[in-house]
């Protein structure tokens, strides 16, 4: 099942940011979301994850199928790496954590408190979380921040394996991930001053 976005307009802080975004995220494929800082990538991903409502337009096929990874990792610093993963595995009810630990080479860190990880190690843990959700659609906001080249390769492998199983991934990033994926540029959809897309404060204009 594909995620289909039709004529979507989004606002952030009451101001329209994106207008008329139409795209689709087919099963088994990855799409790289590009756009300069402030283009609205985070805004779009949050909307797809169901965390913020759209001004207008529709998102179909996303409900309860999304695994979202934001700028923040959602890692509890007072739990160990293993406990963190186990918790999310339990919440999503999607089985074991061993595959996730292996995919991101977390075994040596498994019993360390997350508070004692370096920035890149913590990020790896955050990404490993995706593997225990069992969700088919990954929606990732700059996933490779702080990762070294080895870890970026691990991530690319994990994405490829996920796609091979029929999953899909929408990835906002500024760097090259070495993935063969379609690129979707948000720049043309920037809302202009005249965008009338039902922004919340439009009634006051």
């Amino acid at each position: 099942m594909d995620v289909q976005i039709t004529d979507l307009s989004l606002a952030r802080g009451g101001v329209p940011v994106l207008a008329g975004v139409t795209m689709s995220l087919p099963a088994g494929q990855a799409v790289i979301l590009r756009g300069p800082n402030g283009a609205g990538k985070t805004t779009l991903l949050r909307a797809i994850a169901g965390l913020q409502p759209a001004l207008s337009g529709r998102i179909t096929g996303a409900e309860d199928r999304i695994a979202y990874a934001a700028h923040a990792d959602g890692v509890k610093s007072m739990l160990t790496v293993r406990e963190n993963l186990t918790f999310w595995a339990d919440v999503f009810g999607a089985g074991g954590i061993d595959a996730a630990i292996e995919a991101y080479a977390l075994a040596p860190l498994a019993d360390r408190l997350a508070a004692t990880l370096s920035a890149g190690q913590k990020r790896r843990l955050g990404l490993a979380r995706l593997l225990v959700t069992g969700r088919p659609v990954w929606v990732l906001d700059e996933p490779t921040v702080s990762l070294d080249t080895g870890a970026v390769a691990m991530f690319a492998d994990a994405v490829r394996a996920h796609l091979a199983q029929g999953g899909s991934a929408l990835i906002a990033t500024h760097i090259d991930l070495g993935l063969e994926a379609e690129v979707f540029d948000l720049t043309p959809f920037k809302a202009t001053a005249t965008t009338q897309a039902g922004a919340t404060d439009e009634a006051f204009l």
Binding site: H71, K76, M78, L79, V91
Partner: protein
């Protein structure tokens, strides 16, 4: 659900003894009261049930502060909101964990602390029973307050401000029951009211909390 409860309990135990701290705060408030109002035993006895209730309420409140804030800051809350768990259930569990780590210990020690304020011995039972019935409501209402102020900088104080008025009915009936009990009067009416509040709040509040949290995360 169980995973969430276990995680919250574990975090409470691990994060610098969150378990004992509400208790310690309660103890300290009770200890400070005589310094503030003077050592006259008559006076202390008269205010004892009320002070115990007020102390428990404030200890609850202070520990609520970061019930959701910590999860919000590190992004866990957004992830939980997209997880298959219904948010209502998650918040009920969080309130339960809060009560287990805060309310329950408070109930247990309150009788001991009553000694220090010269609470008449007939009063112990009533203080304990009324706190036992009332503190779950405090936790659930507090979760609502925490959900309301999620994402607000310096939410702690704002939350207190929002939650305290919501605590008023619970406090009135709870303290009234304790006071009447201490005086040897009949305390069933306020106790029944208290139980009613707790049941109602536990049944309905999580929906409000979840709704409010979804808005706050937006």
């Amino acid at each position: 659900m169980k995973a969430l409860l276990l995680r919250d309990l574990r975090l409470a135990l691990r994060a610098g003894g969150g378990f004992g701290l509400a208790l310690a705060f309660f103890l300290i408030v009770i200890v400070l009261v005589p310094f503030a109002i003077g050592p006259d035993p008559e006076l202390l006895r008269a205010v004892a049930p009320g002070v115990l209730w007020l102390g428990a309420l404030l200890a609850c409140l202070l520990s609520l502060d970061r019930l959701l804030a910590l999860d919000f800051e590190d992004g866990t809350l957004e992830l939980l909101a997209t997880a298959p768990l219904p948010l209502e259930g998650a918040l009920t569990i969080k309130a339960l964990a809060h009560w287990l780590t805060t309310g329950l210990p408070l109930v247990i020690v309150s009788s001991v602390l009553g000694v220090m304020l010269g609470l008449p011995s007939a009063g112990y039972l009533w203080v304990v029973v009324s706190l036992g019935l009332g503190t779950p409501a405090l936790s659930v209402i507090g979760t609502f307050g925490a959900a309301l102020t999620v994402g607000v900088k310096r939410g702690g104080l704002l939350m207190s401000l929002l939650v305290l008025p919501l605590y008023v009915p619970t406090l009135i009936f709870g303290a009234e029951a304790a006071r009447r009990g201490a005086l040897g009067l009949d305390a069933t009416t306020p106790l029944l009211m208290l139980a009613g509040i707790t049941c109602g709040v536990v049944a309905c509040m999580p929906f409000a909390s979840a709704a409010v949290l979804r808005m706050g995360l937006r």
